[in-house]
Symmetry: C2
Subunit: 611 residues, 2 copies
């Protein structure tokens, strides 16, 4: 039996079977509802107001006041008749702020994944009567068999006879050397570099002749509907959702290619370089990721073979090479190799650390001699997950917080509008400022210092960053939220600490700390040190390198030497498995305080607290 | 409007549209009717008796007596109502005698197109947690990225977890080195070598471990319905028949693979090595052959890239490499390279000649220093074409003729039954014996020496090899048939002669004359010299090497050194275009006599004639 579900204010209406959830109906209607738990009813972000018969799971965790107002969780409400659904602004995924910038190093010599040469062919004669393919090979200066896909070989005779000028695009020898495209006339081809994050996907369209980035497009990973972190995605794949997840990421990428091509004037993509975490790369390739999830955490591959556009059905040339930055382990993927490649830390004498605070929180330490890396399983707290008021860095998110001695907070909101929630950089600021003003103790428990903005319930304290009744919704941070934030920052710090111990070094030995990832560019270093997320070392050693994974993918797209360097990073990198490390758990426990149990590690914070 | 067409004696019945030819109806019914002109009404081999309304082109060339008996040409008769068609025995293509034998040289070391190794994999642990693909690469002793097709990579995790033993089949490094198959358990794979002739197709299934030929299967090329020679096939392709021709040869090959696998116990084909003339290779690959036909005779390629089973949709492993022996020119293809490879003439000091009397009549001369080759456009006279009583070497074909001084011919017939026509070796014998007995003059005109068996009409003389009324049908050879035979033998001899002059040599300088091709094994050397097809040199210099193209394909399948040697043959071979050579026309004219205008070239024949 089918019922009508209409979504307001859009007025989009769909017919769905009885028993479908409102979230499923929304997907069908093309209405984007925010969810980060993948429809499990735990993130409580998909709150909508439903008018009409729905069977809802009685979800105790939903604020009774909201329930009274007609709010339900879209993922836990089953259609039982014609329904009108009002989707409030805070439940929407919308206009976003994804880091697109990346630091482009000058490459000495371009040797892209594919290169195009223009050849001039003399017409055949009775004495110069070699085959068309051999004529082309001769013009290209190649000996022996020219590796041309059959589909292109079929086009060759007519292409050759259309004109004596021919543009030939070939894959670089190190990736296979086959012919990718033959084109009469003068339309050029471009390359693309792709950073597939668990949360965000960014693509740059690159001119392979000049190395110039022509356009960059970004979007959230459409797989998000199956959960915010890699484990939820793997679980979804295990439950028969592998093809669906592959299709979702391919659609995401296709859309980015379309956008970037529209921006840059339609150049066709002849090569793609991909940096992604191991799970994302598996899903992109349609490889079963299930063994990543269970000890001993084995991926199908950290070194995916070069495939072709047609193997994936992407909207690029069917023979275009698709190259993957090599990963090191199930939780230190090609994105981290790309970060390292782009940072150049692997080519320097001095000891450096790299922190990529994405969903997982990967850390690497090393220099030209070695690299050791780990994943801290930090969790998505800084990406809007696990915190009730948490949200992605989209319009309406509080991205900066300062609490002066007056205790009246000042907020900066993305889009300059009424705030709907807090994103990662805002949370760091908030916790740091609360700590500085004594609004939270070192264990992360809300204190009653500001009675106006503090509330205590059976479940503990809550700090109200924004009060209801100012024409705004209430934005609160609870003890439970703070515990999640502390867990995340402790995991990152402990990972850094354990890595350094593993190589008998300390934070003081670090010449540089690279902070990579979309998150990195918006974070306030002082506040990050205040909460003990970043180590308390001279501030000039921190270097924000933006979307370094994308920058590394661009480098691999453009240079064989950089591709070879990425293989060297892959080979030289040692992976440290933290999930079985007692030392990590000890460090993690010590770090689960503000800023740390051992205040001597944070002398500047200690000084500020004493003031 | 549809009508019923029934074929007798099988009783097969089909429904066809009005206006279809009886030949098309036969194809639809799966009734094999002989044709060598491709349905143009010129070969007159598809004579059938039709009862019922057919619109026939009034074909003046059909013997009025046959027409009176109800005979029509199946290709020129259009269905105009329900028809019963009786297909006489002589109009059928059936039980055949295709040369399968080939001389197998001992190969020093096997390095086949694909090789299979059995690896034993240690299960992953938390400290040995590299990816599945990297584990496999390590077990195979390979460094860097293992080139595994995505389809196989998807199967890898479950294959690895089924058992620790795994059979891995990889393409040889010189053809690309990718992984072709991964199999748990112990089923092996085989390779196949293929000789695609214009007329016949032969396939050997080969054990890649031992190099042993497991089974050989052969059949006529199903493309024959589009004409007997390469030019008819190209014309058919030009008229929109390319896909049809590709499908026909693929079906032929698939059937051979099935037969050979049934013989050899079902081993899966993991590699295919192909020798074929340039046109056949084009049609097999679906490449447009049109430019082969017109000056300056340019093929799409003489060096086809290695493709995969899946590119062709053949019944072999989808990732199996399909390798092509390199050709030299549009009319000296990979089959001739394979002949030369197999003969070893290119590795010897002494000067050798190779003659492949197929439909084209290719000739090569050379030694370890050089090879020069040409195609003589001999025509299909020795394959049953262009001669009224000519037929392929199938059941009922006269394959040996001797005419003693009593002038009463003795015939040997394939299948030991009543003769239906004459095949190539029979024609050579017949012309030689007629010449020896004065039944034909040196210009190839029938003489009245045996009044019983001679008939003269407006169109010239006819010699009746078999008289009507002996319970047999009449088998006659006319002046016009003899002219075609003389043209063919003159072309081959002239080609040999011109090639030798081109390198300043004569027949006396030849250490060896290799005779290759299906035809070669059944031919009587003395008779071939008598008619001036072969040169008059010491008989022990002739060496029949059977289906050398297939043998060469087997060698390339089994050995990288032989594949490299075939490339050396390709590079060292000079192609001589005869169609523009005045010298060839002069030689051809002089050779268009029995045995030759210049009897001094045939001293042994001169001696026999004087006797």
């Amino acid at each position: 039996m089918k019922f009508k579900v209409r979504f307001e204010p859009e007025g989009k209406e769909v017919q769905v079977d009885r028993g479908k959830t409102l979230l499923e109906a929304a997907v069908q209607a093309g209405v984007d509802i925010s969810t980060s738990c993948g429809g499990k009813g735990t993130c409580k972000k998909c709150r909508v107001v439903a008018e009409g018969p729905v069977d809802s799971s009685p979800d105790k965790r939903l604020d009774p006041k909201l329930a009274e107002q007609g709010y339900v969780l879209a993922c836990q409400s089953y259609v039982a008749g014609d329904v009108v659904v009002r989707v409030p602004e805070e439940a929407r995924a919308k206009g976003h702020q994804i880091l697109r910038k990346h630091e482009a190093h000058e490459l000495q010599r371009l040797s892209p994944l594919v290169s195009t040469v223009e050849v001039r062919l003399d017409p055949p004669t009775i004495v110069d009567n070699i085959g068309d393919l051999e004529r082309l090979a001769r013009a290209l200066g190649k000996e022996g068999r020219l590796d041309m896909p059959l589909s292109l070989l079929k086009e060759l005779p007519s292409a050759l006879r259309k004109g004596r000028q021919l543009k030939v695009t070939s894959a670089a020898d190190d990736v296979g050397g086959w012919v990718v495209a033959i084109r009469p006339g003068d339309d050029g081809g471009a390359g693309a570099a792709l950073d597939i994050g668990t949360t965000t996907v960014v693509l740059s369209l690159v001119d392979l002749g000049s190395g110039e980035v022509l356009a960059t497009a970004s979007d959230y990973n459409r797989q998000a509907r199956a959960g915010d972190d890699v484990i939820s995605r793997i679980a979804h794949a295990e439950e028969g959702g592998l093809e669906e997840l592959q299709e979702l990421i391919l659609k995401t990428v296709d859309q980015l290619i379309r956008e970037a091509r529209a921006d840059a004037g339609g150049a066709e993509v002849c090569a793609l370089s991909v940096a992604g975490n191991t799970t994302m790369v598996h899903l992109f390739l349609g490889l079963d990721p299930r063994n990543i999830r269970y000890e001993p955490y084995i991926p199908v591959t950290n070194l995916p073979p070069v495939v072709k556009g047609k193997d994936l059905g992407l909207g690029i040339r069917s023979e275009a090479p698709v190259y993957f930055l090599p990963g090191r382990a199930s939780f230190v993927g090609g994105d981290i190799t790309a970060d390292i490649l782009s940072s150049r830390m692997h080519e320097r004498e001095e000891l450096s650390m790299l922190i990529d605070v994405g969903t997982n929180g990967e850390v690497a330490v090393g220099n030209k001699e070695f690299i050791v890396a780990c994943s801290t399983s930090a969790g998505p707290a800084f990406e809007g997950g696990e915190v009730a008021a948490g949200m992605r860095a989209t319009e309406g998110a509080v991205e900066k917080v300062s609490i002066p001695s007056s205790l009246e907070p000042t907020l900066e909101v993305i889009g300059g509008r009424s705030p709907l929630g807090i994103c990662g950089s805002g949370l760091i600021d908030l916790v740091a400022q609360m700590f500085l003003r004594g609004l939270v103790d070192k264990k992360g428990r809300v204190q009653g210092t500001d009675p106006v903005r503090t509330r205590f319930t059976m479940e503990g304290g809550e700090y109200l960053l924004q009060l209801r009744g100012e024409g705004h919704r209430e934005i609160a941070v609870s003890d439970s939220d703070l515990a999640n934030i502390l867990r995340t920052k402790a995991a990152v710090y402990a990972g850094c600490s354990v890595l350094l111990s593993a190589v008998d070094k300390g934070f003081e030995d670090l010449g540089r700390v690279y902070i990579a990832g979309g998150f990195g560019n918006y974070i306030d270093v002082e506040n990050a040190i205040l909460i003990g997320l970043l180590p308390d070392i001279p501030r000039d050693r921190f270097k924000f390198i933006g979307n370094a994974a994308l920058a590394g993918a661009v480098e691999a797209l453009l240079s064989r030497e950089r591709r070879e360097e990425s293989m060297r990073v892959h080979e030289d990198m040692t992976y440290l498995e933290l999930s079985t490390s007692q030392r990590f758990f000890d460090e993690f426990s010590s770090a689960s305080f503000l800023p740390h149990t051992d205040l001597e590690r944070f002398p500047s914070v200690a000084r500020r607290m004493r003031r």
